[in-house]
C-alpha cells in the first residue's frame, strides 16, 4: 500500500475505453511524472486523481482512503494548471487564499498562510495585483502558491511549464525540484517533455495509447526501456533503432548491421542470451551518445565495437557535434565531441559502446530482457 494508489483503474467515454487498467502506487514524498505524447491519457489520469473526472472502474486511494466518488475539494490535493487558471477578477492574494476561504479557514490564518507562501515563492510584492498584470513566470509562481498554501497530501501539476519560454522553463524546473526537496511533498506531474520527466522525477510512468508503457526510475527508463516506444520517446536525440541480424561469431552473439555501402559490420552483444536469437532478425537500439569518435569512447566500458561508416550530415551544436550516417537502411545519429574532425561525405571510424545497446523483438517491439 502506497501513499497514493491507482488500482486497476480504467476510464471510458461511452463505449470507448481511453485508459486501460492503470496500476501505479506512489510512496509518500515521491515525485511521479506521467509522460507521454498528447492524447496518451496522462492528463485524464491526473484529472481522475484530482476528482475532476469520474473513475469508470477500479479505485484510487490516497492514504488508504478510497477517493472514488469523493469530491475534488475533499481529497486534500492541490493542482497547478497548464494555463495557471488564475481567477482573473481576484488579486493574487485572493487567488492564493480562495481555496482556504472555501474550506472555511478564518481570515487571520489565511493571511498567515498566504504570507508564508508568498515569502517562500518571493511574490510578496505581487499580492495586490491582478493576474492580468503579471508576467508568465510570476503567474506560474502564483499558481504554485495557490497549490502550496493548501498544504495538501498530493500536489498535481498539469504541464505547468509548457507556456513559458525556454529559459524560464529551465529556471522554473529547478525551482520546482528545489521545492520538492525542501518540502518533501508527494507530487504527480504531467508533461509531454521527456527532459522535464527525467530531471524532476523520482519515478516516471511513460504512457501511450491509454496504457502505462513503463513505470520506473529515470535511470531504468533510460537504460532499459521496456519497448521501442519508451526507447524512442525518452532521450534526445532519440535512440537509434535499426534492423539487424543476430549471428554467432567466436561463440559470442553479434548483431550484423548493414552500413552505407551495403557491407556488414559486426557489433558484439554484451548480453549472452542473445545467442538464442541466432539467425533471427531483431531491432537494435543504440543511443546517439554511445556512438562516438574513437577517442571519446567510454573507458569504463568492457565492450566497445568499432566500425567505419560514411558521414552524411554533420550538425555542430556547440557542446557536441551530431553526425548522421546510414545503418541498416536507416538514418542513425551519433554524438561526437565538438572537436572531433568530422566532415560530411567522408568515411569516419566510430566507436560503439555495445554495453549500452539494447535489442527488441521486431514482432512485439518489446525489449529482449537479458
Amino acid at each position: 500500500m502506497g501513499f497514493l494508489d491507482i488500482d486497476n483503474t480504467t476510464k471510458s467515454y461511452g463505449a470507448v475505453e481511453v485508459l486501460h487498467k492503470i496500476d501505479i502506487s506512489v510512496e509518500e514524498g515521491e515525485f511521479l511524472v506521467l509522460v507521454g505524447p498528447s492524447g496518451c491519457g496522462k492528463s485524464t489520469l491526473l484529472n481522475m486523481i484530482a476528482g475532476l473526472e469520474e473513475i469508470t472502474s477500479g479505485e484510487i486511494r490516497i492514504k488508504d482512503a478510497t477517493m472514488n466518488g469523493v469530491h475534488a475539494s475533499k481529497r486534500n490535493i492541490a493542482m497547478v494548471f497548464q494555463s495557471y487558471a488564475l481567477y482573473p477578477n481576484m488579486t493574487v492574494g485572493k487567488n492564493i487564499t480562495f481555496g482556504l476561504e472555501m474550506h472555511g479557514v478564518p481570515k487571520p490564518e489565511r493571511d498567515n498562510a498566504m504570507n508564508d507562501v508568498a515569502k517562500l515563492l518571493q511574490i510578496e510584492q505581487l499580492l495586490d495585483r491582478k493576474p492580468g498584470a503579471l508576467s508568465g513566470g510570476q503567474r506560474q509562481r502564483v499558481a504554485m502558491g495557490r497549490a502550496l498554501v493548501r498544504n495538501p497530501d498530493v500536489f498535481l501539476f498539469d504541464e505547468p511549464l509548457s507556456n513559458l519560454d525556454a529559459k524560464l522553463r529551465v529556471d522554473m524546473r529547478t525551482e520546482i525540484k528545489k521545492l520538492h526537496q525542501k518540502l518533501g511533498t508527494t507530487i504527480v506531474y504531467v508533461t509531454h517533455d521527456q527532459i522535464e520527466a527525467m530531471t524532476l522525477s523520482t519515478r516516471i510512468a511513460v504512457m501511450n495509447g491509454g496504457y502505462v508503457q513503463q513505470l520506473g526510475t529515470p535511470q531504468e527508463i533510460y537504460d532499459t526501456p521496456a519497448n521501442i516506444f519508451v526507447a524512442t520517446f525518452m532521450g534526445s536525440p532519440a535512440m537509434n533503432v535499426l534492423p539487424a541480424k543476430v549471428a554467432i561469431e567466436n561463440g559470442k552473439p553479434t548483431a550484423q548491421v548493414a552500413l552505407h555501402d551495403g557491407s556488414l559490420t559486426s557489433l558484439p552483444f554484451s548480453q549472452d542470451n542473445m545467442a538464442d536469437w541466432a539467425g533471427k532478425d531483431i531491432l537494435l537500439g543504440i543511443r546517439p551518445e554511445t556512438i562516438t569518435d574513437e577517442d571519446a569512447a567510454d573507458r569504463k566500458s568492457t565492450n566497445i565495437a568499432h566500425m567505419t561508416n560514411r558521414i552524411i550530415v554533420t550538425e555542430p551544436a556547440g557542446s557536441d557535434t551530431f553526425v548522421t550516417m546510414e545503418m541498416g537502411g536507416k538514418d542513425v545519429i551519433a554524438r561526437m565531441r565538438s572537436d572531433a574532425e568530422v566532415q560530411a561525405g567522408a568515411d569516419f571510424s566510430f566507436a560503439v559502446n555495445m554495453e549500452k545497446a539494447v535489442a527488441f523483438d521486431p514482432e512485439t517491439e518489446t525489449r529482449i530482457v537479458p
Partner: protein, 293 residues
C-alpha cells in the same frame, strides 16, 4: 472609447477617406431621418403639421404635446397620459430582464462547464425555440396563465417574457462561456468551491460584456412588445406600448399627431437611453460572445 479601437493595419488614401466619411454621414442621415421627423413634429402646434411640410422646423416651438402625452392625453376613458403605463412597463421589464438574464447565464454555465450527455441537443432545442412566431402561442399561453392564476397580472407578463427570452440569453452566455477557460472552473473545484460559488465568484465577475448584450437585447424586446402586453395584461398592468397604441390608434376624432409623436418618443426613451449609455459596451460584448465561432 472603451471599444477596442485597434491599430488597424489598413491604410487608406485621402480621397478614399473623404469618400468614406461621406458615405458614413449619408447613412447617418438615413438612420436619423425617422427620429428627426418624430422630434420635429412633436414640438409643432397641430395646425403647422396639418398644413404640411413634415420636414420643416417648427415656426412656433411648443412643448405642450410632450406634457399632454405624458400626463393628460386620453388613453381610455381617463385622460391620464402615458405616465401610469410607463411605470407598469418598468415593473414588468426590470424583473423579466433580470430573471431571463440570470437564467440564461446559469444555462450557459451549465451547458459549457458541466457538460453531460445530450446537452448539445438540449441547447439546440432552446435555440430553435427562439424562432417560434409569437402569434401561435397566444391562445395556449392565455390558457396556461389562466390555469396558473397569473392572467391579467404583471407576474404573468414577466413569465411570458422570461419564457421567450431564455433562448437568446442562453445563446449569448453559452457562446461567451464556451471560450472561458474550463481550467479555472476545475481549479475552483479543487479549491473547494461549489457549483454556485464557482458561478458567483469566478464566472459572473467576468461576464460584464455579455451581460450588457443580453440586457440590451432583452430590455429592448420586452419594452417594445405589444402583442403579449395587450393580450395578457390586466387593466392595471397594461404596458406603455399598449397605451401608446391606444393613443395613436384612436379611431375617431381629430388625430393630434404632435401628441402622438411626443408619446412615441416618450415610449421609446428608455430603450434609446439603454442603447446610448450601454451601446459602447455592446460591440465589445458581441465581440466576446455571439460572433465567435
Amino acid at each position: 472609447m472603451s471599444v477596442a479601437t485597434q491599430d488597424t493595419a489598413i491604410r487608406t488614401g485621402r480621397v478614399v477617406r473623404t469618400l468614406i466619411y461621406l458615405v458614413l454621414l449619408l447613412f447617418a442621415l438615413f438612420y436619423m431621418l425617422p427620429l428627426y421627423v418624430m422630434v420635429v413634429n412633436s414640438v409643432k402646434p397641430l395646425d403647422e403639421i396639418t398644413g404640411g411640410g413634415m420636414m420643416n422646423l417648427p415656426q412656433v416651438w411648443t412643448f405642450e404635446p410632450w406634457l399632454k402625452a405624458w400626463s393628460s392625453a386620453q388613453i381610455g376613458v381617463e385622460p391620464t397620459g402615458l405616465s401610469p403605463y410607463f411605470w407598469n412597463s418598468i415593473k414588468m421589464v426590470v424583473p423579466a430582464v433580470a430573471i431571463s438574464t440570470v437564467l440564461g447565464a446559469l444555462n450557459g454555465y451549465v451547458l459549457t462547464k458541466w457538460r453531460f450527455k445530450y446537452d448539445t441537443i438540449l441547447f439546440g432545442l432552446m435555440l430553435f425555440a427562439c424562432f417560434i412566431p409569437f402569434q401561435i402561442v397566444l391562445i395556449p399561453m392565455a390558457r396556461m396563465l389562466g390555469l396558473m392564476g397569473m392572467a391579467g397580472s404583471t407576474s404573468g407578463l414577466v413569465l411570458v417574457h422570461v419564457v421567450y427570452g431564455i433562448g437568446f440569453t442562453t445563446l449569448y452566455f453559452r457562446n461567451y462561456y464556451a471560450v472561458f477557460p474550463t481550467e479555472l472552473v476545475r481549479a475552483a473545484q479543487i479549491d473547494g468551491a461549489g457549483f454556485f460559488q464557482i458561478f458567483w465568484r469566478i464566472l459572473l465577475p467576468s461576464s460584464g460584456p455579455i451581460a450588457v448584450v443580453s440586457i440590451i437585447w432583452q430590455f429592448t424586446n420586452i419594452w417594445n412588445d405589444f402583442l403579449f402586453g395587450a393580450s395578457f395584461a390586466g387593466a392595471d398592468s397594461q404596458p406603455m406600448t399598449v397605451a401608446l397604441n391606444n393613443l395613436v390608434q384612436a379611431s375617431h376624432g381629430v388625430k393630434e399627431y404632435n401628441v402622438h409623436f411626443a408619446g412615441a418618443i416618450l415610449a421609446a426613451l428608455p430603450t434609446l437611453l439603454v442603447y446610448i449609455v450601454a451601446g459602447r459596451y455592446f460591440v465589445r460584448g458581441l465581440m466576446a460572445g455571439s460572433v465567435k465561432g
